[in-house]
């Protein structure tokens, strides 16, 4: 009988990620934009990953789902919390990491790993879009530029505009007032302020659970070099960024699947 493949799914509100493992390591992965139907997105992500392998979406998969839409995936065999999956995935990729920041579309999470790579503590905020990926997207719309352009501009800032970190709506008003004041605040300084508002919000969570090197950053926002730079300035050292920062939790979920299969449960 063919050995079941371990699959991890991270069903987020913006993107859905799938990772397939075999005995030797990562066999395939996919990141797709989430649709309205979480289950359909999950299936599409797995199918896209499987295309790279010649395998079919059939019963020979063992699927662990995580992320905000995990409970909607009826064909998953088990669900695990995002924190557990992040810890598993990160320890696999970057074993020296003791603290990780994950900035998703709608929430930010900080996880602390113990010396065995197990999740030992976490903090997250999910009451407001401030400090999340959605917040940055909104700000990019306001600044009439892409996130990549924002990242590039942030390096040119000479000062940092004040932007609140407690409420996305108030932050938006502040940014509008910076844009329209006479003379307008330089856009680079506004962007530096926007990035700092995200970073300062998340730094309080890091301080709450304790900062220990090495520190990694994951999630789609980790691809924003400008924001990562502001984090590095605050920490005073370089952060580790995995090769596919968006897929870390999906990888962790796949590892959980693999462990479950090995246990024979």
């Amino acid at each position: 009988m063919e050995v079941k493949k371990a699959v991890g799914l991270d069903v987020g509100s913006q993107t859905t990620k799938a990772v397939v493992l075999d005995g030797t390591g990562i066999l395939a992965s996919a990141v797709i934009t989430s649709g309205d139907d979480a289950e359909a997105s999950a299936k599409a992500a797995i199918e896209q990953a499987l295309q790279q392998t010649g395998l079919q979406f059939d019963s020979n998969l063992y699927i662990t789902a995580t992320g905000i839409g995990a409970k909607s995936v009826s064909f998953s065999h088990q669900q695990k919390g995002l924190t557990t999956c992040l810890a598993r995935g990160l320890h696999h990729l970057l074993p020296s990491v003791q603290l990780a920041i994950d900035i998703g579309a709608e929430s930010s999470t900080v996880v602390k790993l113990n010396e065995r790579g197990k999740l030992s503590d976490y903090a997250n905020h999910d009451k407001c879009a401030a400090g999340t990926g959605i917040f940055l997207q909104q700000m990019a719309k306001l600044m009439l530029m892409s996130l990549e352009e924002m990242s590039a501009h942030s390096f040119k800032a000479k000062n940092r505009a004040d932007v609140t970190n407690t409420c996305a709506v108030f932050a938006e008003s502040e940014v509008i007032s910076h844009v329209h004041r006479v003379p307008p605040t330089p856009k680079e300084d506004i962007i530096a302020g926007i990035f700092y508002s995200v970073v300062s919000r998340i730094m309080t969570m890091c301080k709450r659970i304790g900062i220990k090197k090495d520190v990694a950053i994951t999630g789609g926002v980790a691809l924003n070099k400008g924001l990562v730079h502001v984090f590095e300035q605050e920490f005073g050292f370089a952060l580790l960024v995995p090769e596919s920062p968006q897929a870390v939790a999906a990888l962790g979920a796949a590892i959980v699947s693999k462990e479950t299969l090995e246990k024979g449960t």
Partner: protein, 423 residues
């Protein structure tokens, strides 16, 4: 501001609900006797309150942690404002109406919701008009100010009992003097005399209650732990509403015996105990049934509540009743964090308690309206982390269901249980 006509339907609802629960007795078989006593006590308490006007009873409304034993000793009918309000609201599911009443009085959403609600309850006349309002600096600034508003709303006299912050001899002596002054005030106002022999009897019983509560805590150390999640609020309300009362003795003795039998039989509060939880502060009261369900589902048992149900010291002296009433106010577990001072000794005790009760993790229910207790969260987290016990902090409200959804709470607890399992 329009004060509504007086109503009795809310109090009636508590009495009816208590009697209904008493008849149905849905508690687990092992705790049926104590549960029956508890709901009978509630029905009696609120029936006495309902009947007070007809029977010529003198009703004293009071805030939480007020020394109610003095009222019982003077044959005055007590009305615990916070608990009466919230029992009525929860039995009827009308929290929103009471909170809206509080908002009409100008109380901002940042203010403690039980106090916003009780002010709203008096505005809407959901609680009967008291003959006197009694309140104290125990246990927070909200309590210290609530009484004035209640007096105004009811156009009734009142007395503010000033309980000092520290437990030094001059301060304890001062508090004994304050208690004496309050008794004089009540005697003059109500025409009822303090029965000192009765107060002494109550002090003796309160001392017995502390011992019983300590025995119950001791039984909860057992693995598996026998005490169910929903019992927490019952233990609190017994001390809040029935200090020194014989029915409270009966309840606590029965509960102790039932728990002892469970421990002897190796029976726990949940089918398979997986996680032993230390509970800090109070979980949302309106989610009590839901949290019990989660407790069963995940095998998570609250084994100790060091800031609420764990009495560290007793030794009340019936021959010195007033001094003992004063002393008890310094012994109540809640005063450690809610009134302070939160000493290094207290933090050390929490660490020792975590070890003694074999705690796997702690959950701090961060009641957002209680800013002075939330200020202590990091202190508890740090000392527990030092002994490798993780602590989950859940931002919530005791009574306002608009702050958290059940799904959100479930998600947070599930994630925390996963962390505990991972370790």
């Amino acid at each position: 501001m329009t004060v509504a006509e007086s109503r009795t339907d809310k109090i009636n609802a508590i009495v009816r609900a208590s009697r209904l629960i008493l008849r149905m007795n849905p508690a687990r078989p092992e705790l049926q006797k104590s549960d029956a006593i508890y709901y009978k006590m509630l029905a009696t308490y609120f029936t006495r309150l309902l009947e007070a006007p007809q029977k010529g009873g003198f009703v004293a409304a009071h805030t939480v942690f007020f020394p109610t034993e003095i009222l019982y000793a003077m044959d005055i009918v007590p009305m615990h404002t916070e608990l009466t309000t919230w029992m009525a609201a929860m039995f009827l599911g009308e929290q929103a109406e009471l909170l809206a009443g509080g908002a009409e009085l100008g109380l901002a959403p940042e203010i403690c919701s039980p106090h916003r609600g009780l002010a709203g309850a008096f505005l809407l006349k959901a609680l009967p008009r008291p003959d006197v309002m009694l309140w104290s600096s125990l246990i927070c600034d909200n309590s210290a100010k609530s009484g004035e508003l209640v007096m105004k709303l009811n156009d009734c006299p009142g007395f503010f009992l000033d309980r000092p912050f520290q437990r030094t001899k001059p301060e304890v002596d001062y508090f004994v003097g304050e208690l004496g002054r309050m008794i004089d005030f009540l005697e003059q106002l109500s025409g009822k005399k303090m029965n000192w022999d009765r107060l002494s009897e109550m002090v003796a019983r309160m001392d017995e209650h502390i011992k019983l509560l300590q025995e119950i805590s001791e039984l909860r150390k057992a693995v598996p732990s026998p005490f169910p999640y929903q019992g927490y609020l019952k233990l609190l309300s017994v001390d809040y509403m029935f200090p020194g009362q014989p029915e409270a003795t009966e309840y606590l003795e029965t509960l102790r015996d039932e728990l002892a039998a469970m421990v002897k039989a190796g029976k726990g509060a949940v089918g398979k105990e997986r996680f032993r939880i230390m509970t800090l502060f109070i979980p949302p009261m309106y989610m009590s049934g839901f949290l019990e369900k989660i407790s069963q589902e995940y095998g998570a048992v609250s084994v100790v509540e060091p800031l609420f149900t764990l009495w560290m010291e007793g030794g009340l002296d019936p021959s010195k009743p007033l001094e003992s009433v004063a002393k008890k106010s310094f012994l109540i577990p809640e005063s450690r964090t809610m009134y302070g001072p939160l000493s290094k000794q207290m933090l050390d005790e929490v660490v020792q308690i975590a070890r003694d009760y074999k705690v796997d993790g702690a959950v701090y229910w961060a009641f957002i309206g209680c800013r002075h207790t939330c200020a202590t969260i990091k202190l508890f987290k740090d000392v527990l982390n030092e002994i490798d016990i993780p602590m989950l902090t859940v931002d919530c409200d005791l009574v306002d269901p608009t702050i958290n959804s059940k799904e959100e709470i479930r998600e947070k607890l599930e994630r925390f249980f996963e962390l505990l399992e991972e370790r």
